[in-house]
């Protein structure tokens, strides 16, 4: 039997960054392959290359024997590839049924009347995915899970040979997950080839025939779900190797004076629950890590604290509530966030970026702070005049942290500083954080999916999973108590 989808030697570069490196796999009819890897591992890029949304630099994507690599997306779709996007963006004025009809239409400029056969077929598909009761309603009146069902319905309507599913279960409740598993299973029964893309093995283990694990653009292993979970390299990527923890020198009052107190925090993105009853606290001078996979809710938690998203529950800063304060006021109050996306001013030089961070300081203070930061990150000193966008990913991250520190924060929030960085850069960054931790009494709240990076510096660790805090404790106890659930 020939494979329906056969990918070999797939490589994609973005500028100097190799996002996907020599990836190959094949999926037969009636088979489900899971593609997993932490954030930034390149799995989404692989999916986009198959769909033609990104053009691969090298390699082939054979669809039932035809190499479609580099074709425009609509031709690849017509040739038999369907995709279920993670984020549904339905049209506002069309009913659910009309959305399914859209997926059934041929690519033709002269179709002026809707065919009755198409309408009937759309109704059948709506029934099949469980949208039969609501097919004449507008998307905005439906709950999140039904919008995900609509995405599945559109894929079914196209009847593709190969179905790509991006994070099938993100944002769904346990009952909905069971429903969706059954629907995806029905793709297999009908002889489609299915590629499931997800962050971890656990989520897709029950459904897949095989799993391919990726890290930093490369394939780590391809095996059954159980074997992948036992694989040493996979364990190291997700859990880190030996975790060394170092205690911070004790200071008077450390951890006792409460600085930040978050209670019962809830955040909704439209209809999807992003955070559910989250409570954390950070004491003065503490280094607290929040670990969790991409999509678990870390960034949302930080954005709620910084006043960037509306929330329910309370956030107290030094005993006063932050509700109703603008993000600007919160930042001036001493909570400075260094966001995942870094948000540097790309056309400005390193020095200009840092000076902007120090705007509210006096000239003398700013100079002192700058000297201290250049000591912490010597590379920034040697490249002061260089435009921020020309820096490497690691240098940009250092600059982002340095700029945040220019504001002399009382609480520094670091969101995924290691995202997309090579291991050697990670080490430099890790050293800088350790110096920061040993020589100053700064309070840090770090969000990470890379446990190896997050644990060594932490005084205390929270694990966040599916919008909830599931574990809190000492970094030394993490591996035995929370490690297994993290794969």
């Amino acid at each position: 039997m020939t494979a329906l989808l056969e990918v070999s030697g797939l490589t994609k570069r973005f500028g100097g960054l190799v996002a996907v490196k020599d990836i190959g796999f094949s999926i037969n009819a009636g088979e489900i392959l899971g593609l997993i890897g932490p954030n930034g591992s390149g799995k989404s890029t692989v999916m986009k290359c198959i769909m033609g949304i990104e053009k691969p630099n090298a390699g082939s994507v054979k669809l039932d024997g035809t190499d479609v690599a580099g074709w425009p997306t609509h031709r690849i779709a017509r040739h038999g590839v369907g995709i279920v996007f993670q984020h549904a963006r339905p049209l506002h004025r069309q009913t659910i049924l009309e959305h399914i009809q859209l997926a059934l239409l041929p690519d033709n400029l002269f179709m002026l009347v809707t065919d009755h056969k198409i309408t009937r077929r759309a109704e059948e598909i709506a029934e099949r995915v469980g949208l039969g009761q609501v097919m004449h309603r507008l998307p905005r009146t439906l709950p999140f899970a039904d919008l995900r069902r609509l995405e599945l319905a559109k894929a079914i309507a196209r009847n593709p040979k190969v179905v790509l599913v991006d994070e099938p279960f993100a944002g769904l409740t346990a009952g909905e997950v069971a429903d969706f598993s059954a629907l995806i299973g029905s793709f297999r029964a009908e002889g489609h080839a299915v590629l499931l893309v997800d962050h971890n093995v656990k989520g897709v283990a029950a459904l897949v025939d095989r799993v391919l694990a990726m890290y930093l653009g490369e394939k780590i292993t391809e095996a059954t779900a159980e074997e992948v979970m036992r694989n040493e390299t996979v364990r190291r990527v997700y859990l880190g190797g030996k975790i060394e923890t170092a205690a911070r020198p004790d200071r008077e009052g450390k951890g006792h004076t409460p600085l930040l107190d978050v209670r019962g925090l809830g955040v909704l993105y439209g209809k999807a629950t992003a955070l559910d009853d989250v409570s954390i606290h950070v004491g003065e001078g503490e280094f607290v890590s929040v670990v969790g996979l991409n999509g678990a809710g870390k960034t949302t938690l930080f954005n709620a604290i910084s006043g960037l998203v509306p929330f329910s529950g309370t956030v107290a800063w030094r005993g006063e509530t932050l509700a109703g304060k603008t993000p600007g006021a919160i930042a001036r109050g001493g909570i400075v966030q260094c966001p995942e996306s870094r948000e540097l001013f790309g056309d400005m030089s390193i020095r200009e970026n840092l000076d902007l961070g120090g705007q509210h300081l006096t000239v003398a203070e700013a100079g002192k702070q700058l000297d201290w930061l250049f000591g912490l990150f010597p590379i920034l000193k040697s490249r002061q005049g260089q435009a921020a966008r020309t820096l490497s990913g690691g240098e940009q991250q250092m600059l982002a942290i340095a700029r945040a520190l220019m504001m002399k924060p009382k609480l520094l929030i670091l969101d995924e500083p290691t995202l997309g960085l090579a291991p050697v850069i990670l080490e430099q960054l890790s050293k800088a954080l350790e110096v920061l931790r040993q020589t100053t009494d700064i309070t840090v709240l770090l969000g990470e999916q890379n446990v190896t990076f997050a644990l060594p510096h932490a005084d205390r660790v929270y694990v966040i999973e599916h919008s909830r805090i599931v574990w809190e404790g000492d970094p030394g106890r993490f591996a035995e108590e929370a490690g297994a659930g993290y794969l």
């Binding site: 949304i53 609509h74 779709a77 369907g82 049209l91 690519d107 179709m111 002026l112 009347v113 809707t114």
Partner: protein, 305 residues
């Protein structure tokens, strides 16, 4: 539901408009004739903006190409009016295609900027070759549609009704659905197997066809083609305001907006220079507080049930 409600509004309105020449004077008819041509400009623009999701800042490029092609053919070669109209519409489609092929490759605001620059180029060309085109003074036409106010009015009304019917029908057809999906999320539309560029290109050509044809009709009504009436940036701005005011993605709203804009400008004429200011202020308020426009609101409340 939506459809029948739209008809409930549109059919009586058209009836009233058809009976107007029996009751009102030539001046008002003349004003409405102008408004109906503007309505076609605005509806063509809405097909592109509301459905294909592309902001064309230069509707008067398409209008002007159609108008001046017709005017030059009539002035120098004495082509009959119907032939000039057809030639004008075709020229606008060709001009539009030449513009759209490179412009649709660009993303974000660049498509809009290209269309804006196109208007300025056309305007400069016309002024530069004033010896041929009549420049800012304009080009007299030997032929006019009619010298009778009522006949001119009916030409315009019929033209608007037919154009509006075709554009509205297109917007509600399966092709319109594909176009709307392409405008809202090009990647998803492509992943569903639709050639987004092809559909947007088709929308641009249809928009150009009706804009060019309306431009040509307008100058044969006015008896003269001038930069100020069919090419100037201000003409394009009015078209855009009319379409947004009337309601994006409704086609019919664009016509309502155009008639309102021309009508209000006239009613406020005693205010002198201030009238433009007042109309603009009203437009601003509507766009800020009712972004779905006149018709958008009306149709929405009908669709909610």
């Amino acid at each position: 539901m939506l459809r029948s409600r739209t008809f409930q509004i549109v059919v009586p309105a058209l009836l009233v408009m058809a009976l107007l020449p029996l009751g009102v004077g030539g001046y008002i008819l003349g004003l409405l004739t102008l408004a109906y041509y503007y309505a076609v400009f605005a509806m063509s623009w809405d097909l592109l903006f509301g459905f294909a999701g592309e902001v064309n800042f230069g509707p008067s490029f398409l209008i002007g190409v159609g108008a001046y092609t017709a005017a030059l053919l009539n002035h120098y070669w004495m082509w009959p009016i119907p032939a000039c109209l057809v030639a004008g519409a075709i020229a606008a489609v060709i001009g539009g295609a030449v513009l759209a092929v490179p412009a649709l490759r660009l993303t974000g605001p660049y498509f809009g900027l290209v269309t804006l620059v196109a208007v300025l180029l056309l305007q400069n060309m016309l002024v530069l070759f004033a010896g041929i085109t009549g420049g800012e003074i304009g080009l007299d036409l030997p032929d006019v549609l009619s010298i009778d106010d009522s006949t001119n009015y009916y030409y315009a009304l019929a033209f608007m009704t037919v154009s509006g019917g075709i554009l509205f029908g297109l917007s509600r057809s399966p092709v319109g659905l594909i176009l709307q999906a392409s405008g809202q999320d090009a990647i998803e539309a492509a992943a569903l197997g639709f050639n987004v560029a092809k559909h947007k290109m088709a929308a641009f050509c249809i928009s150009a066809f009706f804009s060019g044809l309306a431009g040509a009709m307008l100058i044969f009504y006015l008896g003269t083609a001038s930069v100020g009436t069919v090419v100037d940036i201000a003409v394009g701005v009015n078209v855009i305001i009319a379409a947004v005011l009337g309601g994006r993605r409704t086609i019919i709203g664009a016509a309502v907006g155009a008639i309102f804009l021309i009508g209000a400008g006239e009613i406020l004429r005693p205010l002198g220079q201030l009238s433009t200011f007042v109309v603009s202020a009203v437009a601003l308020v509507v766009i800020l507080f009712f972004p779905s426009g006149f018709m958008g609101r009306l149709l929405q409340s009908g669709g909610r049930e």
